[in-house]
């Protein structure tokens, strides 16, 4: 009996029927379906315990406290810490980005030394040795630029420069805090400046984009929110004066269009009207001030300067007079480059309204004690102007430094007239950059020292500009060890200084911060919390002073607050300085030039951070179209220049030019072109690189007479079709 065809068919048929009665086919089909749901190249989600850690944001200039979700010890998402007075649950796009930026493709992973045109990886020992040698060799010919606006890190770096004998070469990246601080000093004020929006009932923002780039933005936004229940009438009014609808303007009850860089004229015009209405001050120069503003800043003169109609200005003055707790805040529409006169004039209005050191007014807050010998105070730091120094270096009037240290700063990108400034920087003998990311400054440095990000290091946030109370909070590492071979920059500086024989009195930044915290805790302040709100304390509520272990409390994300203002004596209205600074205010603009304003949004990152990967999606196509910068004009302006939407244009400033696409929007006033800021990176990763153009390249920095403050918020550009 041989095996024939039928037998084989029988076997197969039996097998087939049998298989139907086994799970093989059904199971396999099911497993394939499940397999197709979990492609190997798509990451899996973590399954561990969800916990929260509390720290402070160092990347966001507003210094808000963070509540960070961790799973298996890894920080995943950051939200605002509801208990932190500068956050109150709010968080900016930059604060939100702190977790995933740890893994940014642009991070510097190892110390790098430039040999020829290329970087070579070196060890930390070599890097440290090299930096120490350069410190020794530089002597008094060093300079440093810090991107930190308020931290104790600045004490370390300025003390190092002091040891080298060049403390005057310590610079901060330009910010509103510096310009406002300088203005306050020139008026005879003491302490740092802050604005109590929470207790004010009428807030007039002169250019200051309070919720995006000016001062303690999150505190401002939360104060604004608390006054508006959406059910009843708002408990406070907010009026925005500026050349475009900024973030703040969108939330304001009224937007008053005003030419950029002319905030001082608005304030002085208001001052004139207030004085006419009976306002006075016991400031020694009141009579001079009265004469100055009454003659030079009548409503029609202000209209010619600013574009604000006389009746609108009168209405604004009336609003301020009628308000119980008015507050005027000056600033720049894009967080930098406003002239000193703007701050002085706005402060003068606040003085006339008797709004200094009162709830809902301007507060002068105390500085916390320094802990590094020879370090500069915040007030001292505010008087060194980086743009002035680099302009002087570029012009050959000041020799370029032999050693230039940059710390969390990207001056090659983030300064006005960027190409000229980058050239001046390139002239420095040896450039050592402490950078977390391969930014434009690091790219042209000789030595790049990879810096740990805030979530990998100890650091602190000390009274950011605009906070109406002195506030101290700590930044702590949330990761057990840094993601890459990075170190906390201040630890490296302390070690290099010691190696060069310039020991700064501490061998680690953590220890130094412990000393700082101990010193801070002696200021008689309190830990902010639910029953200890700094705003309520300013309004007169008694809060018990803190007793306990301050380091422990601050490490848990708390904020130490001193809500008692610095007493003022000899405060003036700054008449002489204002008069000298504003002498050229009436000068006619060059023909064919257009006023340039910028829109800065935290979602487009910062010079030292680039555009955070996840924030790019929130960048609007009215700012960036594909890879092109979008310049916005209103229809009337476009008509003047015979431009249509979608056309390519060239904007030219004294130091460079950029190209852009034209977009039409009535959110910009006539005679002004608005260009978004924060784009045009040539370094970093694909999320930042080659996206748009750097508007700072076409800005013009002008040194203001009498105040010495460099400003560029009143820049003009020439515009041409291409």
């Amino acid at each position: 009996m041989g095996v024939d065809r039928r037998a084989v068919i029988g076997l197969i048929a039996g097998g087939a029927v049998g298989t139907m009665f086994t799970p093989a086919i059904w199971k396999t089909t099911g497993s394939i379906a499940l397999w197709s749901q979990n492609w190997g190249w798509i990451p899996r989600i973590p399954k561990g315990e969800r916990k929260y850690a509390y720290t402070t944001s160092k990347l966001c200039p507003s210094g808000s406290g963070l509540k960070v979700l961790t799973v298996d010890g890894l920080p995943l998402t950051a939200a605002g810490n509801p208990a932190h007075p500068l956050s109150q649950g709010g968080v900016s796009a930059l604060g939100l980005s702190e977790c995933y930026l740890l893994y940014s493709p642009a991070r510097v992973k190892k110390p790098l030394l430039k040999t020829g045109a290329q970087f070579k990886e070196i060890s930390w020992d070599e890097a440290l040795g090299l930096l120490a040698d350069k410190l020794k060799a530089a002597g008094g010919k060093a300079a440093a630029i810090s991107g930190d606006q308020n931290g104790t890190a600045n004490e370390v770096i300025s003390a190092l420069l002091a040891k080298l004998g060049c403390a005057d070469k310590f610079f901060l990246m330009p910010s509103e805090g510096q310009a406002a601080g300088r203005a306050w000093q020139l008026m005879g004020g003491h302490g740092l400046i802050g604005y109590d929006l929470a207790n004010a009932d009428t807030v007039l923002a002169l250019g200051a984009d309070l919720f995006e780039s000016s001062g303690a933005t999150m505190l401002n936004a939360r104060s604004y929110s608390a006054q508006r229940s959406s059910l009843d009438k708002p408990a406070a009014k907010l009026v925005y004066v500026g050349s475009q609808r900024t973030t703040t303007a969108y939330a304001s009850s009224k937007w008053v269009p005003c030419l950029p860089g002319r905030e001082a004229a608005v304030a002085l015009g208001l001052a004139a009207l207030l004085i006419k209405g009976g306002a006075s001050s016991d400031a020694p120069d009141f009579a001079d001030f009265k004469a100055f503003v009454s003659a030079g800043y009548t409503p029609d003169k202000v209209e010619a300067l600013t574009g604000i109609k006389a009746e609108v200005l009168e209405k604004l003055a009336k609003k301020l007079t009628e308000a119980k707790k008015p507050l005027v805040v000056a600033g720049s529409e894009f967080g930098q480059g406003a002239p000193g006169a703007a701050y002085m004039a706005a402060l003068a209005v606040n003085i006339l309204l008797k709004r200094i050191n009162v709830p809902g007014g301007v507060y002068a807050t105390p500085e916390f004690p320094k802990v590094v010998d020879g370090a500069l105070s915040r007030t001292q730091m505010a008087s060194a102007d980086l743009v002035k120094y680099l302009s002087s270096v570029a012009a050959g009037k000041t020799p370029a430094p032999e050693l230039l240290i940059t710390y969390d700063a990207n001056p090659a990108f983030g300064l006005p007239q960027a190409p000229a400034m980058a050239k001046a920087l390139a002239g420095a003998g040896f450039k050592a950059a402490f950078a977390s990311f391969m930014d434009e400054t690091a790219a042209q440095a000789d030595l790049v020292l990879p810096a740990s990000l805030p979530m990998e290091r100890y650091d602190d946030v000390v009274s950011p500009y605009g906070a109406p109370f002195a506030v101290y909070s700590l930044v702590k590492p949330l990761l057990k060890k840094p993601v890459h071979d990075t170190k906390a920059a201040c630890d490296v500086i302390l070690a290099a200084a010691a190696k060069a024989g310039l020991a700064l009195g501490a061998d680690s930044f953590e220890k130094l911060l412990k000393t700082k915290v101990a010193a801070v805790a002696k200021s008689g302040g309190f830990i902010a919390g639910k029953d200890a709100s700094p705003s309520a304390a300013l309004a007169g509520k008694d809060v018990a002073a803190f007793s306990g272990d301050p380091w422990k409390a601050l490490m848990e994300g708390a904020a130490y607050v001193v809500a008692s203002p610095v007493k003022q004596d000899g405060l003036t209205l700054g008449t002489k300085t204002l008069a000298a600074a504003l002498k050229a205010d009436g000068a006619k603009a060059e023909d064919g030039a257009l006023a340039l304003t910028c829109a800065y949004k935290t979602r487009s990152g910062s010079p030292a951070v680039g555009i955070p990967a996840q924030d790019l999606t929130a960048v609007r196509d009215t700012e960036l179209a594909g890879t092109k910068t979008v310049a916005t004009l209103n229809a009337a302006t476009a008509k003047m220049f015979k431009l249509e939407a979608g056309e390519s244009i060239k904007l030219t400033g004294p130091a460079g030019e950029i190209s852009a696409l034209v977009a039409l929007s009535e959110t910009v006033m006539t005679g002004v072109v608005a260009v978004p800021m924060g784009f045009g990176h040539t370094a970093f990763d694909d999320f930042s690189k080659n996206k748009g153009q750097n508007v700072l390249a076409v800005m013009t920095a002008t040194e203001e007479p009498a105040t010495g403050v460099n400003s560029w918020s009143g820049s003009k550009v020439k515009i041409a079709k291409i």
Binding site: L96, Y100, Y103, P105, L231, Y250, R603, D621
Partner: protein
């Protein structure tokens, strides 16, 4: 349109457009919370995918009479969701207390009927696999499973946060079906700096949204379509309300 259940709890979002600055914090917090991968081409809006999107509105007048506003748009969680009716595989449904419209990724066959049916453009199709920059996948969250290419996704009002809130309530011995206000709040609401967004149970008089949704300034997007959204907007500006309703000039809101 088929009939949908009425629920005892209706999670609702109310956005005060007069407080919204268009800053984008809601979009970004949503992205990171719900594991939406960053895209290098995100500045090209045809390539980006957002559960929360911000529209720009203008009254159409020339400067200086012009007025403008931003309108954040999550999924409207419609009472009568047009997307659910058209789904051939019940990958999307509205059948749970709270009224959140669900979307089950493994079940989705990618036909995109729902994308076409949604009048709010709240649904997005994954044309590409989600790829994080190398190493950044360490920062993805446990809240939402990652979605492969070929499926549709949308806002869930951070449903996982509701689950967490219920877990916490149970642990504390409280009733998980009677959560106090703010025990459950989506990521966008939590992140909003100016407090423009309110969240809660529309049917619970103890929750602020209950009253806000009844405010004379409240409106819903494309109300006339009868989709019955659970997302409300408020604005004191009439032109904003009218534009949101998208009424023809002759047909004023009743």
């Amino acid at each position: 349109m088929s009939e949908f259940k009425e629920f005892a709890t209706k999670w609702g979002l109310v956005v005060d457009l007069d407080k919204c600055t268009g800053c984008g914090a809601c979009m970004i917090s949503c992205q990171v919370e719900n594991n939406i991968a960053p895209v290098v081409e995100a500045s090209n809006k045809l390539r980006s995918l957002n559960w929360m999107w911000i529209f720009e509105m203008t009254n159409g007048k020339a400067f200086p009479e012009n007025d403008a506003a931003f309108l954040p748009r999550p999924c409207m969680q419609c009472g009568k969701p047009p997307c659910v009716s058209v789904c051939p595989v019940v990958a999307t449904d509205k059948n749970e207390e709270g009224g959140i419209v669900s979307q089950i990724y493994p079940r989705c066959i990618g036909c995109r009927y729902c994308v076409g049916a949604c009048p709010y453009h709240a649904r997005y199709f994954n044309w590409f696999d989600p790829i994080w920059p190398e190493g950044m996948e360490k920062a993805i969250t446990p809240h939402a499973s990652t979605r492969p290419r070929g499926v549709v996704e949308k806002c869930t009002l951070c449903h996982h946060r509701w689950n967490y809130a219920k877990e916490k309530a149970r642990q504390e011995g409280k009733d998980p079906s009677a959560l106090p206000e703010n025990a459950y709040v989506p990521a966008c609401v939590e992140a909003c700096p100016t407090g423009a967004m309110y969240f809660g149970d529309l049917k619970n008089p103890k929750h602020k949204v209950h009253e806000l949704a009844k405010s004379p300034n409240a409106f819903r997007l494309l109300e006339k379509l009868g989709t019955n959204p659970q997302v409300y907007y408020v604005s004191a500006r009439e032109w904003v309300r009218k534009q949101g309703d998208n009424q023809l000039p002759a047909k004023e809101k009743a």
